[in-house]
Every structure is written in structure tokens, then in C-alpha cells.
Point group: C2
Chain length 327, copies 2
């Protein structure tokens, strides 16, 4: 029986979260924390899903049950990815899927995108299909759309392509545009508040604030877009000091949009005081993670975050996106 393992990286939003909802560009980076998905062919028509990270460690179902709508179960992304992979291949098989994730869930690091993308890659490879990364990215986005109802393609694209992506959201019916940015290195420390949060709730809160104070909030959103554009130029010219300062300004503007909180703010200040060049919340805010840019003092910054009672890990940009590990 064939066995294939594929992996895909988690991501952080470097610049532009929330503003991207209003058509401004964003910069996202794949990081070297990966989700590993192993797919094992079975001789019967059973699907077995397994993950040590989930409350339900294992779920098994019949192949025919795959298409059932499931927008709440813990394995919903895996099941939808399996279904779309079988559709794409035009064949199906009993299968065992084992997920080994190094990414905390619901932390804003795109674990569901990494799970979706790596499941698609593992299963399609197991079925003997040749797929491009573009296609895996597109299918991955379809998984998130089907499960969540609405989803930005940013997470799945970053997880599939790797590296740093400059995302320019498409207006109206236009497609989003992704430009790959080449960076020598971007040493980060990621601090996790331990607070799970809902992206939807936070996006809604910005919408409500904007409804009330549009003339004040719109310039903040535009300014975040300007920061992202400037950061892209600084990545290209290798201006690390500028990158750090822009992260700090971007963080303040996210504060102004009301998506920061006490814990995030503490980690941001602890990081800066421990020698980070810049620090900001990453993703939706309200909990989840922050990132510190640490070309030096990486251990000091991680220690300072840990001293606040939160988890920290060092991260680098993962140039490689989704890949087949073996099989």
C-alpha cells in the first residue's frame, strides 16, 4: 500500500492585516513551523483521520460519508481536502490520514491552511496525480471557502508557495495578485498569547468602528496600506532598521483600530525592551500571536516573552512552501 507524507508551512502576516479586508496590500511570510500530513492507502473503503493535537484524536468514517456537510468537526478541513482531492483525481480510495502539526491552532498562524494544503498534496501524490503548486493553492483556498463560507486566499497561497508574498487584493471580480518577495533572511520570534480568537469577530469589530467613524478610520486603513508598500521596498533593499520601525508604526495603527489587547501589548513591549528591532501583533489580533523582528538578541526576546507567561519560538522565513517529504 502506498504511503505519502507532505508538509506545508504556517504563516505570519508581516504587514497589512485588517487593511487587506479593505483592498489594501498585505505582506505574509511562510515560517519554518510546518504541518506534516501522512496519507496511507487502505484496501477497504474506510477513511481514518488521526491527530494528536485534536481533542478527538481519531475519527473514522466510510468513504461515502465524505461529502456530508461538516463545518464544525475538528477534521473538517481534512475531510473537505480529501473530497476535493478525490474529485480532482477522478478516483477515490480508503485512506488513513495522520496529521502532525507544529503549529498552535486558532492562533492566527494559518494552521488550517497548512493542514488543507498539505493534505491535498499528500493525497493527490498518493493517487499518482501531478499537480502544480498554483493548483494546490487554489484547491486549498476552495477547502477554506467551503468550510468557512468566506476566506482570504492569503493563508493557503502563503502556505503553498512559501517565502514572503506581497498580496494585492483584486477589486470587484479581479483575482488577487501575489508577488513573491526575495529576502535573504528574516529572523523572527513569535509570541503566542495562548488566547484563541475568532478572525470574524475582530474583522467585524473594525467594520463597526469604521461605520461609526469612517472619516477617522479610513485614513488609518490607507496608512497601513502605505506602510505595507514601503515595507516591500525595504525588504527589496534590505533595510532592516526601517522594517523594524514600520512594524512598530503598523502595530500602533492596529491599536488604533481596536484589535490589540493587554497581553499582546505586553509581549510587544517586552520584545522591544529586550532588543527586538520592531514588534507587532500579527493576524487578526485580540489574542493569537505577535511577532518580533530579531536579527540579534533572539534568545533575550524569547526569554522576555516567556517571562510574561506566554509561549515563544524563534522562526525564520520558510522559502519552501508545500512539499512532498517522502512517498
Amino acid at each position: 500500500m502506498v504511503t505519502v507524507t507532505a508538509s506545508a508551512p504556517a504563516k505570519v502576516i508581516l504587514f497589512g492585516e485588517h487593511a487587506v479586508v479593505y483592498g489594501k496590500p498585505a505582506l505574509a511570510g511562510a515560517i519554518d513551523r510546518r504541518v506534516y500530513v501522512t496519507a496511507r492507502e487502505r484496501s477497504d473503503r474506510t477513511v481514518i483521520l488521526r491527530s494528536e493535537d485534536m481533542k478527538t484524536k481519531e475519527e473514522s468514517l466510510h468513504l461515502d460519508g465524505l461529502g456530508m456537510v461538516d463545518t464544525r468537526g475538528e477534521f473538517r478541513y481534512v475531510k473537505k481536502a480529501l473530497e476535493l482531492a478525490f474529485d480532482r483525481a477522478g478516483s477515490m480510495t480508503g485512506i488513513e490520514i495522520e496529521i502532525d502539526s507544529r503549529v498552535p491552532p486558532a492562533s492566527g498562524l494559518g494552521s488550517s491552511a497548512a493542514v488543507s494544503v498539505s493534505t491535498l498534496m499528500a493525497v493527490l501524490t498518493l493517487l499518482g496525480e501531478e499537480v502544480s503548486i498554483e493548483e494546490v493553492a487554489r484547491l486549498g483556498h476552495n477547502v477554506e471557502l467551503a468550510v468557512q463560507g468566506a476566506a482570504s486566499p492569503t493563508d493557503t497561497a502563503t502556505s503553498a508557495f512559501g517565502g514572503i508574498l506581497f498580496i494585492q487584493p483584486g477589486m470587484d471580480s479581479e483575482m488577487d495578485r501575489y508577488d513573491r518577495i526575495t529576502v535573504a533572511d528574516l529572523p523572527l520570534v513569535v509570541g503566542y498569547t495562548g488566547i484563541e480568537r475568532s478572525t470574524k469577530v475582530l474583522v467585524d469589530s473594525v467594520r463597526v468602528l469604521r461605520q461609526r467613524f469612517q472619516k477617522i478610520v479610513d485614513p488609518i486603513i490607507s496608512d497601513i496600506g502605505r506602510i505595507t508598500g514601503e515595507a516591500k521596498r525595504m525588504f527589496e533593499t534590505g533595510d532592516g532598521e526601517g522594517i523594524g520601525q514600520l512594524m512598530n508604526i503598523n502595530h500602533g495603527l492596529l491599536e488604533a483600530l481596536g484589535v490589540c489587547n493587554d497581553r499582546l501589548s505586553r509581549l510587544v513591549y517586552a520584545s522591544r525592551n529586550a532588543g527586538a528591532r520592531g514588534a507587532k501583533l500579527t493576524g487578526a489580533g485580540g489574542g493569537g500571536c505577535m511577532i518580533a523582528y530579531t536579527p540579534e538578541n533572539q534568545n533575550d526576546v524569547a526569554d522576555a516573552i516567556t517571562a510574561c507567561g506566554c509561549n515563544a519560538f524563534s522562526a525564520h522565513i520558510s522559502i519552501e512552501g508545500v512539499r512532498v517529504e517522502k512517498g
Copy 2:
């Protein structure tokens, strides 16, 4: 021998600090923490200055020594105010000045302005002069100009007039404009970080940031100006909820300008979490004070700030500015 006591209130910047340096409007409020200055005529030509709050509790000098340049001594504001009062009156007298301040110094609450304004009022009254509040405000500004080299007239105007002032800085040679805003009440809690800071250093840091990122920083400054204008309208319509939200947005923009710090941020979040409608740093930042708008939960908010190891006191807008207490 005649004795006169005058007092003048401290102030908080409600909206618009830093942006006011770039020609945007600001809103300042006099608060019910006052500096009391008692002037006692003496029969000799000695000047005695006394204050329990200063390291040098007492200083005495000869009347003729008053005009000596002194930009560092602890009583420099008092001496310059005395000098300008004697000039204005066209007469001088031996005098004993006793200062009783309820305002922490170098905390951004305008204690030097309150000292200057109340000294002027006490001494001019003692000398039998009739002075308008406008004139005391102008002379008070001259005291700060002489001592500091440069000074905004905001602190001295707010301390002299009381209430809430909408300050529109004058362009080029124009004079600044002050509009008095009528507000029923504005219950605040003031949290003091205990960190003394230099306004000049912080104003300089914003200038440097703007030099580097003018296209990003200028929209932030403009947006703070917009917030101040909107806050003025909300004071006029009594929209307390809106005022709180605008304080939060304003605070985020000050974060973006880099003038917040760890301690201020903690007090701001502690206040919001304890039920303040809004909270922000006030004044130059980098230490000094923050304010929380607390139409309810005033004690909870003060307790939350105290639990962070900082001092808190409740404050209301002082409708009265400088006044003669007795004499």
C-alpha cells in the same frame, strides 16, 4: 503686612498632543488638582521662596537678584513670575512665597504653568493691581517662554481660564485661538507612571520619525487633528460613548508615533478592562500620565491602576481657572 493666596488648576491634554506641534488643534482640560501660592509682603528687601514639594525646600535671595538668569533652579518659574509681576505693577516689595502643590511635577499635568499663573495672580493682587485672566494667561506664557526658551501657551491658558479649551494653533505670525467648550462633567481617573520625562525629547523623537517616514507619519498627525475636531463636536452634543472611543483611537495613533511605553500601555489596558469608557496617554508620553474616562466604575479603574504599582487619582474638569483664594 498683606497676605494673598491664589490658586490655579493643573491640566490634562484630552486630545491632540504632538499633532498640535504640527498645527493641528488640541483639546485641553483644567482639572481639580490645584497649585496654591501664598504671597506675604515683607518689610525688608528679601525674597523667600518655600515649597515642601521641592528638594530645596527653601531659597532666599535679595530683591535685586531676581532678574538674574536662572533656567535650572527649582524655583525658576516662581522667580520669573515674580519678576514679571513686579514689572507689570511698576513696583516691587520684599516677599515670601509659599507653594503648596497638589500636582506631581514633570508628569505632564502642567504644574509649572499652574505655579507660574498662580504666583502672578497672588503677587499682582498683593500689589493692588487689577488684572484680567487674559493678561495673567499671557504673562504666564511669558514666564514659560523665558524659562524654557520655547513653550506652547496651552498649559498656561488652560490653567488661567479653566474648563476645556479647544486650541487652534496660529499659523505663521497669527495668534493661537482658544475656544472654551462647555461640558456638563467629565469624570476622569488620572494614572501617573511615576516616570518623569522630557517633553522636548519626545517632541524630537516624533520629528525624527517624521523626517524618515513623512508620507506615513503625516497622515497620522492629520488623523489626530480630525479626532480632536470630532471630539469637540461630541463634547458639544454630550456623546460620552463616542468620546471614549475617540480616546482609544487617539491612543493607538500616539502608539504609532512611538511616544507610548510599557507602563503607560499597561495602565491604559488596566483602565479599559476595569470599565473605563476610553483611556489614553496624556501629554508628551514616554512616562508621565494617562487618563481614563470614567463616568462609571471610577473606583475600579483607580484600583486597577494602583494594582499596576502606579498612583491614581480621580479628577473632574475644573470650570474655574486661576482665582484668588483669600487676601
